[in-house]
Symmetry: C2
Subunit: 216 residues, 2 copies
DNA sequence: GTCTATATCCAGATAGAC
DNA sequence: GTCTATCTGGATATAGAC
C-alpha cells in the first residue's frame, strides 16, 4: 500500500532481518544482531521500520506469501487429480528445499499469535473449495476410494512439510547428522511421496485410465 | 540424579512453567508470568530452580520424555507390521491429543538449540534399527512393496504429528476456527491414517494373510 | 541517510527480613 | 520456605550531530 520503491539499504535490512527472525523467532531475535548482520547500526533499523514489531510483520508476511499461496495455484489448476498431486508434491518440496526454515518459522509464529491468522487467510485468498470439489468428483466417478477430502489434503501437506519442520531431530536420528545425506533423502522423497499418496487412494478393482506418468 | 522427592511448591512451579514455556517458548516466556500462574513470586522460582535456563531444561526434558520415547516402545514391540502400524498411529494420536502443544514446542526449541539433540537421543535411547529391520523383512517376504524404511517411518510420523503442529492454520482454513470440529476431525483421523498407510504399502497381487483388524 | 550517545524500560537474578 | 525490595544487564527506542 505504501511501498513504491525499495532503497538498497531497505533491502539489505530486510535480508538481514529475514535471516535473524527466521533463525531465532520474534522474541529470540535482537535488533542489534539484525543491524550487525546488515552491516549498519540499530538506529537505521528504526529509521526504515519504526519498530521491531513492524519489521517483523514485513518479514513474516513475505515469508508467508513465498510459501503458502504458491501452493494454491497448483491445487486450483485444471489438471486431473493424480497428475496434480504429483505436480503439487514436486513443486512444494522444491520450494521448501529452497526455503527450509520457513515452515517452522510460520507455524511457530502463527501458534504464538493466533490473531494474525484470519487476516492472513483473507489477504491471500486461501480457499481449498475447488480442490475439495475435484476430489469429490473423483470419488463419485469411482477412480479413487471414498475419503474425506480434508483428510487427504492434510495428508499431502503433512508429508511435504513435516520433514522440514522436524529436520534437526530426523537428521540426527536417521542420518548421523549429515546435512548432505538429508538433502539426498529429500530429493528421493519427492518421487516417494506422490507414489505413496496415489497408491493409497487409487481404486484397483477396475482398471482406470489414470495419469500417473512421472512428468516433470 | 538428584530428585528424591518433589515438594508441593516445586510441583506447582513446574506445572506453571510447563504451561507458560509451552505456550510462549523460551524467549517469549517471562519468569513473572510463571510466578503469577503458580500464585507465588519470582524469588521462589530462583530458590527452587537456580535460573530460567535450569527451569526450562527441566520442563523441556519432561515434555520430550512424555511424547518421544513412548513411541519407541511400540515400534520395538514384537507385533506384525500392519498391526503395529495401527497400534502406533492410534496410540500416538491419542498421546498428542492429550498434549497437543508439545510437538510444536519440542520441534521449535530443538531447531533453536541444535546442541541439545545428540545428548537427548543418547539419553532416551532413540534407535529405529529394530523397526527398520522388520520393514526390510516384510519387503523380502513380499508382503509389502519395496521402499526405503526411513521414508516410511517419516511418513508415519508426519501423518500423526503434523496436524498438531499446524493446528492453528488448519483449523482456520478447514474448520472455521471451531475447536470442536477440529477435535472431531482428529478422532476420525486415527482410523484414516492407518488405513491410508497400509493401503499404500500393501502388495495386492498375491492375497496375503495380514493383520488389519482395527483392534484397539 | 547514517552515525554516536543516551533515555527508558523491563527482564532475570540476588539480598535480606520474616 | 516465602516474601519485598533492589541490583544489574541488556533490550528497544529516540535525540541530535554530521
Amino acid at each position: 500500500m505504501k511501498k513504491v520503491k525499495e532503497s538498497a539499504t531497505e533491502k539489505i535490512i530486510l535480508e538481514a532481518a529475514r535471516k535473524v527472525f527466521i533463525d531465532k523467532g520474534y522474541y529470540g531475535a535482537r535488533m542489534q544482531e539484525i543491524a550487525d548482520e546488515a552491516g549498519i547500526n540499530k538506529a537505521l533499523l528504526h529509521y526504515y521500520f519504526r519498530s521491531k514489531e513492524k519489521l517483523f510483520e514485513t518479514v513474516f508476511l513475505e515469508a508467508f506469501v513465498k510459501v503458502v499461496p504458491s501452493v494454491l495455484v497448483i491445487l486450483n489448476s485444471d489438471e486431473p487429480l493424480f497428475k496434480k498431486i504429483e505436480h503439487f508434491v514436486n513443486n512444494y518440496i522444491d520450494i521448501l528445499t529452497e526455503n527450509p526454515f520457513i515452515p517452522g518459522f510460520i507455524l511457530y509464529e502463527l501458534s504464538q499469535n493466533t490473531k494474525r491468522i484470519s487476516s492472513l487467510i483473507r489477504g491471500t485468498g486461501l480457499n481449498p473449495q475447488f480442490f475439495i470439489a475435484q476430489i469429490y468428483k473423483e470419488i463419485e466417478s469411482g477412480s479413487i476410494k471414498n475419503c474425506d477430502p480434508r483428510q487427504l489434503i492434510i495428508h499431502m501437506l503433512a508429508l511435504c512439510i513435516f520433514p522440514f519442520v522436524a529436520q534437526p531431530i530426523l537428521q540426527a536420528v536417521f542420518f548421523k547428522n549429515s546435512v548432505e545425506e538429508y538433502r539426498q533423502f529429500l530429493r528421493e522423497r519427492k518421487a516417494e511421496v506422490s507414489k505413496f499418496i496415489i497408491a493409497s487412494i487409487r481404486k484397483q478393482q477396475e482398471e482406470e485410465i489414470t495419469f500417473s506418468n512421472p512428468i516433470q
